[in-house]
Symmetry: C2
Subunit: 318 residues, 2 copies
């Protein structure tokens, strides 16, 4: 068992007050054309329009702002080559501290550039998990920086939970809300907030068939890490975190999986019909709705578009 | 001279009340990254997120709703292969009448599909202006449909003017507002509304150097039609309308021009930094701001993103 103290609704509301000056209140957009195809009402929460182009800005900012001053002054550190790295670098810059980001030496130049553009200090390491972890340990030891993990960390989950809080503040009586699930920060936070505000609402996770550890863990009732994930949804390669798994087991209705073909088709729909640039991971929930019409028919369904960081010169529908 | 009666502020407000149930109130979005590059504050009014993916939904809806019932019952007609065609077809469908759209036989399949998806009836003609006009005349004669021109028509200009009305309702004290200019419906409407609400605010038009009839007409103080326009901004090939020219001459500060290279670079910036799908025409105002920093330094500048109808499998930055 565990002895975690999970955030209460008041904690999530306080997190929102804490971070709101540093993040965008993102819009909810709709599309008649896609609704017709899906046979339900769809409300797209556009975190691709969030700072750093992803919901990760919420958790990273909340985590830094909750650090005691004596910890914060030495900076923060993480290992990541994705949206959490850029989000932590920006949040550190905006709140007056330093971010040390351990990145594999083969990380894409565009990801390194994003971290640097926010003043983050990059420490390169060999491209494997062992090297990442030992390099991070060394950085933390040398600098005294506080480690902020990308998802398996309470203040990060609490920050991601503010996204659903904004959704519920719009007054829409969602029957269901679906988010992508990788490490599980967004899904756990969304399920937690929704559990407090509207327990009747069903929260779903959606993930690629080629990285379906969340579905398998959910069914097995224990974490089954992903080995050799393979999918175009590069934001969803990680396995579920401990805290995330507990919350998801408790408050999530089900985990749906889709093929890469379905992801690309849904991604194209959002580009063409909604005029939004989204990364493949963000198309996974819509793909899941379109592949499971019976589950959602005539319901009011909230979909969190998690991010928009994709190389627009290499889109998969060229 | 002319004896046109141009819309008053009350007319624009009434147009907004008339059409608001049929259109989106589009958001204004911002980007720190682009503001840093431009040395000014930028407010992007996102008409790419409008119904049919373009501001044209406003004018077309207003024009149909203002038709007397005896005219409206026979339907509406226009010749266009662009956003006005889809906008008129949708507005006709939503308001319970029929749209007859004369399109050149070589119009892209995607444009025809858009018109058909809204129930519009397509009448094909030879791909030249003469054939378009005679075919339209024939359609109007046979059906009794009312001709709704794409921009040189008062109720269309009045409808486009509601876009700036929404912008001013946000309470932002714009120093300048810039729109693309093709036929001049959006620019004329924006200039008119802004003249009434904030006469100190400077309104600019922006167009491609390869289709610079608005700039030349503006300088010459008479309409100089464009011959053989050549630009990637396919929405801005048309020459200024009469009514549009009069309003623009009176209420617009200046017309700025940019190269196709500048348009493509600005378009890519909006995709990458704002996560928005926009058509090349919509990137023209941002390109003009970046090419004329002295004009806008430290000012609050509103930019209307006019539309998002672009083939996402053939983007110019692949």
């Amino acid at each position: 068992m565990h002895d975690y103290r999970f955030p209460q609704l008041l904690d999530v509301k306080q997190a929102y007050q804490r971070i709101m000056a540093y993040i965008h209140h993102t819009p909810i957009l709709t599309s008649e054309a896609i609704e017709k195809m899906a046979d339900c009402q769809l409300y797209f929460k556009c975190e691709n329009l969030q700072k750093v182009g992803a919901f990760k800005a919420r958790g990273a900012t909340n985590a830094i702002l909750k650090l005691p001053p004596e910890l914060k002054q030495n900076g923060v550190a993480t290992h990541s080559s994705g949206n959490h790295a850029a989000a932590l670098a920006r949040a550190a810059f905006e709140t007056g501290t330093t971010a040390y980001i351990v990145m594999p030496s083969n990380a894409p130049a565009i990801k390194k550039a994003a971290v640097k553009s926010y003043g983050g200090k990059i420490i390169e390491c060999e491209p494997n998990l062992k090297a990442r972890e030992t390099t991070l340990e060394k950085v933390v030891e040398e600098t005294g920086a506080a480690f902020i993990p990308p998802y398996d960390y309470m203040d990060v989950i609490e920050g991601q939970a503010t996204c659903a809080l904004e959704m519920w503040d719009e007054g829409i009586p969602f029957d269901a809300i679906i988010t992508p699930v990788g490490g599980g920060g967004l899904l756990a936070g969304t399920a937690l907030t929704t559990h407090y505000i509207s327990p009747r609402t069903e929260v779903y996770g959606a993930e690629p068939k080629g990285a379906d550890d969340a579905q398998r863990s959910f069914k097995a009732k224990e974490i089954i890490p992903m080995e050799n994930p393979s999918t175009i949804a590069d934001g969803l390669l990680t396995s579920l975190g401990q805290r995330n798994f507990i919350l998801i087991s408790k408050h999530v209705k089900d985990i749906l999986t889709v093929t890469d073909e379905e992801i690309i088709a849904a991604m194209r729909l959002v580009f063409e019909r909604m005029k939004l640039v989204i990364e493949p991971s963000s198309a996974v929930p819509l793909a899941a709705v379109l592949a499971n019409k019976g589950l959602f028919r005539n319901k009011k369904v909230g979909i969190i578009i998690s991010g928009g960081n994709v190389d627009v010169s290499k889109l998969p529908f060229q």
